[in-house]
Symmetry: C2
Subunit: 227 residues, 2 copies
């Protein structure tokens, strides 16, 4: 086992659900997914790793009666399915029309073996993954609905918005129900919280999928209760 593979495997295990990385272009093929089309299902053989090229996907689990918990969203540049398990432990589907690159796990490890920079870049990008999962535990267990929605918008803003712009514009590539299942609330409550934030002048919603953040400080005060 070479050091390069070691680094890559380290990355693979640390990255529990989704991580950003630049993967090699070789030995992969891509696939188009429509909204709500599954990429893989819980229990499937975990032979591939997936890089989101465009659109977005969500990883989730469902209970017997249909209740669903979204574990994470993945956006362009993110990679999912890197867990060290022989079968996927959650399902994954597109939340909007998306383009996904499939990479055979075998090929990926071979690539990384030849190019140490790949593993290194992946490792660098994965440092905050565990922390994000801890944040999500706190969010699910201890935050109110309004705080959950504020935290979600805040995270999206920091990740996707133009940092130069005075007013951050974020696009929601998923439905209210997807957001609700991620935050552990209902889609109606998501809607009501967004309206509440809008009426307080903290955000604007020119289109259902577009949010303008007018008062990032107020959003932080609501969503950022961390010590």
């Amino acid at each position: 086992m070479s050091a390069h593979v070691a680094i890559l495997e380290e990355f693979a295990t640390q990255t529990n659900v989704a991580a950003r990385a630049e993967l090699p272009d070789h030995a992969s093929r891509s696939r188009e997914l429509g909204t709500h089309e599954p990429l893989f299902l819980e229990g499937d053989d975990a032979r591939s790793v997936f890089e989101i090229l465009s659109g977005a996907v969500c990883c989730f689990r469902v209970l017997a009666d249909g209740r669903r918990q979204v574990i994470s969203f993945a956006y362009p540049g993110d990679v999912i399915g890197l867990e060290h398990s022989d079968w996927y432990q959650y399902s994954c589907e597109a939340t909007c029309p998306s383009e996904i690159r499939l990479i055979a796990k075998d090929n990926l490890f071979r690539e990384a073996n030849m190019n140490p920079d790949i593993g290194r870049r992946m490792l660098e990008r994965s440092g905050d993954q565990t922390m994000r999962m801890l944040d999500h535990f706190v969010l699910l267990g201890r935050k109110s609905a309004l705080e959950k929605v504020a935290s979600f918008l805040l995270a999206l803003t920091r990740r996707h918005a133009d940092e130069d712009a005075l007013t951050a514009r974020i696009t929601l590539p998923m439905t209210r129900a997807d957001i609700a299942d991620y935050l552990g609330i209902t889609n109606e409550t998501v809607s009501r919280c967004l309206t509440k934030l809008r009426l307080r002048g903290i955000i604007e919603i020119p289109m259902p999928q577009t949010i303008l953040v007018r008062d990032i400080d107020a959003l932080e005060e609501l969503g950022e209760q961390e010590t």
Copy 2:
């Protein structure tokens, strides 16, 4: 980097919060903790790894206003602090009088380097860690209070109870408040749910810290909604 170290690091990153393992006896010292005495705090330099010898500890995060979310409990045989981070990303304290073995990270990696079995054993034991975190996301986001308590008792039963006994006896080495912060509810609600289970004849509570599981099937029906 040798293959042994690679496996150990792999383990360290996959094991986000707590994992079972047998660590080498050398190069370590032990420490006694009283109830609610901290083992380390979020932000401390992560120089050591800890093995629970007796008692129990909980890993948790707190919000600015004091709301607390317990990430995981660790019992004798469990190891915590193996994350690949320079500082602890959560706090940890004893939930009852406990004995902890401290292991310098440097020494641990050196040990594993000399004895590949150590890394291999740790890796074997860590396979279910990610799945447990996924289960906990579902529990926090989508289960009712009664289902949460049932799931918690079920997990404890499977982990600690005599498998031969007709009636499983489990000991709770933590307070109701600790359980509540783990399940994302209040201690009063934990109490009420335990009472409800008792009145239904599913469990007995001879002492506050002792639970007898009388009807494991009913407990599974309540707590085990997974598909």
